[in-house]
């Protein structure tokens, strides 16, 4: 299992859920509003007057075989709309407790 943490502009929520459905990823945890800013480029998402956009965050644990494809598709999504902001982090070796 791999843990994937996606922090993204709220507006991309539907697209990501659609993608997960497509790839058969069922389980996830979502924080609907979180704030933050990207490491290098892009606008901050603070939900303030100056930076009104907000992020959501999804934490999901996926099968090791699906993970690369998922990350790849997320990258494509980000590149399609650079301005929105989407970032995914992945770390491996998570064991399923059940």
């Amino acid at each position: 299992m791999k843990a994937i943490f996606i922090s993204f502009n709220q507006a991309l929520y539907d697209q990501i859920i659609d993608l997960m459905d497509e790839l058969g990823i069922r389980g996830f945890t979502c924080w609907e509003t979180v704030t933050g800013r990207g490491s290098s480029t892009g606008e901050p998402h603070y939900g303030t007057h100056a930076w009104p956009t907000l992020n959501s965050a999804i934490l999901t644990f996926v099968d090791e075989t699906v993970a690369p494809l998922f990350l790849d598709r997320l990258k494509q999504m980000d590149e399609a709309s650079q301005m929105q902001g989407l970032k995914a982090f992945c770390w491996g070796g998570v064991t399923d407790p059940f």
Binding site: Q10, A11, Y13, D14, P52, L54, S81
Partner: protein, 1043 residues
């Protein structure tokens, strides 16, 4: 957040909610009655007291003054004015607008009860009348007839007046110009004297003979019969055979001493319509009834009525006030459609996409229709004010939707799905959309709170615009995102045609953006120049051009009606008056092809005709009613024609005075503009002289086309001055002698001739040729109790004298008013200034004071109300902005756009020669709320740029470049929305033209200045703030270091 989210998430519900609003709105539209103005409740009460036999001066001292003194204590009273003439005192109490007239009436009644006992014993109990605009006739019909002329009155009364009076809402229907049938018994005084007969004796005989008497019932055998004497005359000729006396044992028949004619009353008003003699039917509505509705029903009924009339009787329309109302509303509807189309075009040009344009423009009908629901629910009408409110709002309601749509588009372009973009983008701008709506609502909501005339007029406007803006804001944050989520697509595809049209537009807009950014950069470097320039511009225009600004109350509305009253020297014979009237009629018809119907009446109305006797009438008076073709079908305006008519009337030397009233009424909203110089003073002679002097000087003033003096001249009359001693010696007294005179000249109504259930007077009097000279009067024989005949000349003298005119008073002082009518090429302020100079030049006798009244007084009151309101609005707008920015400085900077709106207004009004009236002032009030919106957008975005880390200069320029387009777009929709109002030439358009012009000029000029001045002032303030912050930080650092 939840509101837009649920709106986007539930498109069907959202859609249907607004569809429901639209359907209710359409329903209201179909049900709403139409009227010219919002209902203005009457604000006047009239107290009429008769005191027979008293002269004007006696009436004034004994009746009017005691009544005035007590009535002055009634609350909410604005003015007490009175007129005291022979036999009658009329006091008019004018109240503040908007008071409950019923409460005031009760108050007046209580006060009257207190004073009645102090009045002279002979005086009748005072009668209270309420009257208002409702008493103005809504329709005048003309009647012409040939063969049926003789019995016309009865035909009209039975077949026209009675059915029309049954129409719901019709108050009274009165017939004038048609003399009523009367049986005249014309006696020859010489023959009467020869047979020893008198008029009184003949009248008694006629009364005694013209009887039906039931004589009881009696039984014959088994039957019971009633017994009657049935000897009422069945024909007028029957009377000729009456025995009225005897001479030498032979009976004297009436035919021996008199002629009997079944004819009409001698003195009557004559009415000519389009030079044809005929009658006039006047229809007045009940208080609160709808004129348009009544006129429509009357027009529906007329063809049916005409079918029942003899074929030679024709009924036409002289004046139909509903025509003007309908045309006015039609022209406003047209203006609204044009505005709608133009605003749609502007939105399309800026957005460049049909779908986006549709989404934005859809808010217009929905918000406008919602206001119609309010109108129906609150029992209002579609009138000039409510329709103008719709027109004003069109350009403003799209602003919010545009802001929302722009932001959604940006989000979609960044790659959001439409549905998500709609929710988040709306969330981002919702607060600023609501804030900018609030600044505008801050202007319109207080309009609902003012009192007086302006309050009545602008209450609807205030509510409607508030409702429209609120609904548009709700629609902008629910319907617009929903529609965007459903309709907007991120498609780069565009047709070739689209590219051909929009590529140059895009390029031009980009160039504009860059040019503006450069201008801001330059301005930032030369801040001192910009600020000084702005101050110089403001002071220059306000001090320089501002002096040329003229003022007025309301513009005279071109309702295609003119009424003229012509007075010949008092006592002119009716024949001469008629001849002059016909000549004036011919002159006017020849000179003015615009005349549709010209009608005049002259002559003394019968005393029985209550309506006519209320109005001024007499054998020397002519009153014209002229209807012109609609303003759209002629080149000359109403006031121009009015002025030319005055010039024509000047050419008739026999005319003593005349009064041409454009629009059919003077003063008020839309009536003729008049400057009244009120001269107060007790002495009639000295105030007369002063008034004449002032009037003579004022008539020389350019732009003042007509001057009238309220106090009439002394009218000539004959008085029989009986010598009491001679009377007593002959066994007579004054009342007996006077009644003899009256019965011979005016006639004695002996009895009534009955036919078909109607009664006609049988009048016995001297034949006409025996009462045509002073000698005839002197030769009248009066009989005393012993039966001796004595001539009037043996009892007294017949002398020619003058009756003093009506004594008018206002606020308990004698008053004489010099009314100066403002001509078509002048404004009220011109005439006021000239009148002020004239009053300085003339010598004012001691004890005499003067002041301006009339339209000027109304103007001053309304202006004062509106200026107070403006102060209130400015404060409210400031509060809203301060709350939004959480700062005092930024709202202050934005407030600088207001004075420049004023500069634009002054320039616009002066350039077009439009005087500043109430409507223009209303435009300025609206500007206060509108012009700050541009500043808000700019400052808000500049703040945002600075928060994002830009320096002041960079932020100012970036914000300017980025916000130029939305600012221009919202401004253009509002300005262009006003232009159809400003240039409309349709019927009734005078009313809103100055308002449209004010908003269009003020907003465009202010926007141009704001775009430069506000960012520059902002940068000054911000730099100052930054420096202060830096100094503070430095001080803190130093302190920390020293510690």
């Amino acid at each position: 957040m939840s509101l837009y989210k649920s709106a986007v998430g539930r498109p069907v519900t959202t859609m249907l909610v607004f569809v429901a609003v639209a359907i209710l709105g359409l329903f209201s539209w179909s049900r709403l009655p139409v009227d010219l103005l919002p209902e203005i409740e009457t604000n006047a009460i009239m107290v009429m007291t008769t005191y027979r036999g008293a002269s004007a001066a006696d009436i004034e001292t004994n009746v009017t003054r005691p009544l005035e003194n007590i009535l002055n204590g009634v609350s909410d009273l604005k003015h007490v004015s009175s007129s005291s003439k022979e036999n009658i005192s009329i006091i008019t109490l004018e109240f503040e607008y908007g008071i409950d007239i019923d409460v005031a009436t009760n108050d007046v009644r209580d006060k009257l009860d207190m004073v009645v006992s102090a009045l002279p014993d002979e005086a009748d109990t005072p009668i209270i009348f309420k009257f208002g605009t409702d008493d103005i006739p809504i329709m005048l019909l003309s009647v012409s007839a040939k063969e049926s002329m003789a019995g016309l009155y009865k035909i009209l009364d039975d077949n026209v007046a009675t059915p029309l009076a049954r129409v719901k809402g019709v108050g009274t229907v009165s017939i004038s110009g048609i003399p009523e049938r009367e049986i005249q018994v014309y006696c020859d005084p010489l023959k009467l004297e020869a047979y020893g007969l008198t008029i009184e004796g003949i009248a008694q005989v006629i009364a005694a003979e013209n009887r039906n008497v039931p004589a009881g019932s009696f039984d014959i055998g088994s039957e019971s019969y009633s017994l009657r004497v049935q000897k009422e005359f069945t024909a007028a000729d029957e009377m000729l055979g009456l025995v009225v006396g005897s001479a030498d044992g032979a009976p004297v028949y009436l035919r021996d001493v008199a002629t009997v004619t079944d004819t009409r009353e001698e003195r009557a008003q004559e009415v000519y319509t389009n030079r044809e003699v005929g009658g006039m039917i006047m229809i007045q509505k009940q208080s609160g009834a709808n004129s348009v509705e009544i006129a429509r029903k009357v027009e529906e009924m007329l063809p049916k009525i005409e079918k029942n009339l003899p074929s030679d009787i024709k009924i036409g329309t002289i004046v139909n006030t509903s025509d003007n109302i309908l045309n006015t509303i039609d022209s406003l509807t047209e203006t609204i459609s044009i505005t709608f189309a133009v605003v749609m075009l502007v939105v399309f040009v800026f957005l460049g996409r049909w779908r986006a344009t549709f989404v934005v423009v859809l808010t217009i009908p929905i918000s406008l229709l919602s206001a119609l629901i309010y109108l129906l629910v609150s029992g209002n009408t579609l009138n000039i004010i409510s329709m103008s409110a719709l027109s004003i709002a069109i350009g403003m309601v799209v602003d919010n939707a545009i802001v929302v749509l722009e932001n959604i588009t940006t989000h979609i372009e960044r790659g959001s799905r439409p549905k998500q973009a709609a929710v988040f983008a709306t969330n981002e701008v919702a607060i600023s959309v609501i804030a900018s709506t609030l600044t505008t609502v801050a202007v319109f909501l207080p309009l609902t709170m003012i009192t007086g005339m302006a309050g009545i007029l602008f209450k609807q406007l205030g509510w409607m615009v508030t409702i429209i803006l609120t609904v548009s804001t709700v629609a902008a944050i629910t319907l617009t995102p929903m529609l965007c989520s459903q309709m907007l697509r991120l498609d780069a595809k565009s047709s070739r045609l689209h590219r051909i049209i929009f590529t140059p537009i895009e390029r031009a807009l980009d160039a504009l953006n860059n040019g503006y950014a450069r201008l801001l950069g330059w301005g930032y470097r030369h801040r001192a120049v910009v600020v000084t320039g702005a101050v110089v511009l403001f002071l220059g225009v306000v001090m320089g051009v501002g002096r040329m600004l003229k003022t007025e109350y309301f513009p005279t509305q071109d309702n295609a009606r003119i009424s003229i009253t012509v007075k010949l020297p008092a006592g002119t014979r009716q024949e001469i008056t008629r001849d002059l009237a016909l000549r004036i009629n011919d002159t006017l018809t020849a000179h003015y092809p615009e005349i549709k119907v010209i009608n005049f009446s002259e002559g003394q109305a019968d005393t029985d005709n209550a309506l006519s006797s209320m109005q001024d009438n007499g054998t020397y008076l002519i009153s014209f009613n002229i209807s012109l073709v609609s303003v759209e079908e002629r080149d000359r305006g109403l006031t121009v024609i009015g002025d030319l008519m005055r010039k024509d009337l000047d050419k008739f030397p026999e005319i003593r005075t005349y009064q041409v009233v454009e629009g059919g009424m003077s003063g008020g909203t839309g009536g003729q503009s008049v400057v009244d110089i009120e001269i107060y003073g007790y002495d009639l002679a000295s105030t007369d002289r002063l008034a004449a002097d002032v009037a003579a000087r004022m008539s020389q003033v350019e732009g003042c086309t007509q001057v009238n003096i309220s106090r009439d001249e002394y009218a000539p009359e004959y008085q029989v001055d009986f010598d009491r001693e001679k009377l007593a010696r002959s066994g007579l007294n004054v009342s007996t002698a006077a009644s003899y005179l009256r019965n011979r000249i005016n006639g004695s109504v002996a009895s009534y001739y009955r036919e078909d259930g109607d009664e006609y007077d049988i009048r016995v009097r001297y034949a006409r040729r025996f009462r045509e000279s002073v000698e005839d009067i002197e030769n009248i024989t009066i009989y005393n109790g012993r039966g001796d005949g004595i001539k009037v000349k043996d009892l007294g003298r017949v002398v020619e004298t003058f009756t003093p005119p009506t004594i008018e008073r206002k606020d308990r002082e004698r008053i004489i008013t010099v009314s100066c009518v403002v001509g078509h090429d002048a404004a009220m302020s011109d005439i006021l200034a000239e009148a002020g100079k004239v009053m300085e030049q003339v010598e004012i006798p001691s004890g005499v004071t003067w002041q301006f009244g009339g339209t000027f007084e109304d103007q001053q009151e309304t202006f004062a109300d509106l200026f107070t309101l403006m102060a209130l609005i400015v404060i409210l707008v400031f509060i809203i902005m301060a709350a939004q920015f959480e700062s005092f400085t930024y709202p202050f900077v934005i407030m600088f756009s207001i004075p420049f709106a004023l500069v634009g207004v002054i320039l616009g009004l002066v350039a077009t020669g439009t005087p500043m009236g109430v409507m223009a002032l209303l435009g300025i009030l609206m500007l206060v709320g509108i012009v700050v919106n541009n500043g808000i957008v700019l400052v808000d975005y500049t703040n945002l740029c600075r928060e994002r880390g830009m320096g002041v200069r960079e932020a100012v320029v970036t914000a300017g470049r980025s916000r130029l387009r939305p600012v221009l777009m919202t401004t253009l929709t509002t300005v262009i929305g006003m232009i159809p109002l400003a240039i409309d030439k349709g019927e009734g358009s005078e009313m809103w033209r100055s308002m449209g012009l004010t908003v269009a000029c003020g907003l465009s000029f202010s926007t141009l200045v704001t775009l430069v001045l506000v960012p520059i002032l902002y940068s000054l303030m911000a730099d100052f703030g930054e420096r202060r912050k830096a100094r503070r930080a430095e001080r803190a650092a130093r302190k920390a270091l020293s510690v």
